[in-house]
Amino acid sequence: MSWDLFIKWLPDFLEGAWVTLQLVGASVIAGLILALPLGIARSSRVLAVRALPYAYIFFFRGTPLLVQLFLVYYGMAQFEAVRDSWLWPFLREPYWCAIITMTMHTAAYIAEIIRGAIQNVPAGEVEAARALGMSRRQALWHIILPRAARIGLPAYSNEVILMLKASALASTVTLLELTGMARTIIARTYLPVEIFFAAGMFYLVMAYVLVRGFKLLERWLRVDACQGR
């Protein structure tokens, strides 16, 4: 790949990469917030409480993100009620559709991570908290969730990397994130190999930085110190 070509299109690549980071950042944070009640309800002992999050998770994990994205971006417009509602200014924009879809998609996966983490909190620690006179709610907030956060963090960082790659799908609804931008540049230069290669490099660098960042976070939260029971 010739460097002057790369430098010529660098501002466009950076613009696309910035949109990609916005999509990923917004969806993994909003997804985590949405996943918390889902994951907690999913690990409930009451069947009725468990059923609804189970159906949600089953649907979002069992269908491709592309279908979900098309359902939100193209599908919602089928209903006049949606087109007349206050939601329409958002659902008309590919940017918001991508964020909404990716958030709902990743929330299903994060909810499963949270469930696994909650169930892997050693039972003795929960019993100890209760024996000290903590209420159920106190035990959840002060013992189970902080402990589960450390157990689930490595899996959460994997999910963030998967979402980084999944964000490429937003290019199919005309959004100019990194992949979409690469396709636009190719339409002007007719150099698919070089431009896709450069886009791939951007993804690799972003993934590397994210992995490093999570490693630092794990050290800061002393995740490995919690592993030995």
């Binding site: 649907f59 069992g62 592309l66 359902l71 193209y74 790659k165 199919t172 791939g200």
Partner: protein, 231 residues
């Protein structure tokens, strides 16, 4: 039997069949690549280890959609060149072949790690026992290691296959007439995007359920003779 759906029912069934074919051929390619990758990564040769590591790291770090696009649009010149060598004019990868290669490549990169984990989990004593019995290296691998790897790798491979099946939807971007592409065509004609994409979603859900059931029986068969540990 087939619901009409404005006359697009049969097209969706044909699309489903195409999706299944694509998933299975990518699976076949991916299993071979994954096994080769795992062997390379555990090889005593540093060059092979580097090659296996680079393959799995780079492929896993780049979006699947980018691989699909890169292999379909990026190899046009190369494939045409190969065609000219053999005297075939305008040789090109079909979307099906390009999709198989791209998805197989991605599956293989993840399968490399699954197979490597399984390979490392087999006790060293088994290989030594084979050597003591005078078996050749190839024989030890085929008769001792590989059958045991299968049982250990199966749960991981099952998860990867679910992901692969959903990723087949990406190949609609390069025009392969699978579930998504045929749904989009139906949407253009009927102007009912929600209806058709919901139908597509439920076809994928059905395929996932079938694959999950299949995995359950495969795992049960592979694990016969082993007590399941209760965690």
């Amino acid at each position: 039997m087939i619901p009409d759906l404005y006359g697009f029912g049969p097209a969706l069934v044909a699309g489903t069949w195409m999706t299944i074919q694509l998933a299975l051929s990518a699976l076949a390619l991916g299993l071979v690549l994954g096994l080769l990758g795992a062997l390379a990564k555990t090889s005593p040769l540093a060059t092979l280890r580097w090659l296996g590591g680079t393959y799995s790291t780079i492929v896993r770090g780049v979006p699947e959609l980018l691989w699909v696009l890169l292999i379909y649009f990026g190899t046009i010149g190369l494939v045409r060149g190969i065609g000219e060598v053999f005297g075939i004019e305008n040789l090109a990868l079909s979307p099906f072949v390009a999709g198989t290669i791209a998805l197989g490549l991605c599956f293989g990169a993840y399968a490399t790690e699954v197979f490597r984990g399984a390979l490392l989990a087999i006790p060293k004593g088994h290989r030594e026992a084979g050597l003591a019995l005078g078996l050749g290296k190839r024989r030890i691998f085929m008769r001792l290691i590989l059958p045991q790897m299968w049982r250990l790798a199966l749960p991981g491979l099952g998860n990867l296959f679910m992901i692969l099946m959903k990723d087949t939807a990406l190949v609609s971007v390069i025009g392969l007439e699978e579930i998504m592409r045929n749904s989009q065509i139906a949407v253009t004609a009927s102007k009912e995007p929600f209806t058709f994409f919901v139908v597509a979603a439920f076809i994928y859900l059905g395929l996932t359920v079938i694959a999950m059931t299949g995995m359950y029986f495969l795992e049960k068969r592979a694990g016969r003779g082993f007590a399941r540990s209760t965690a």
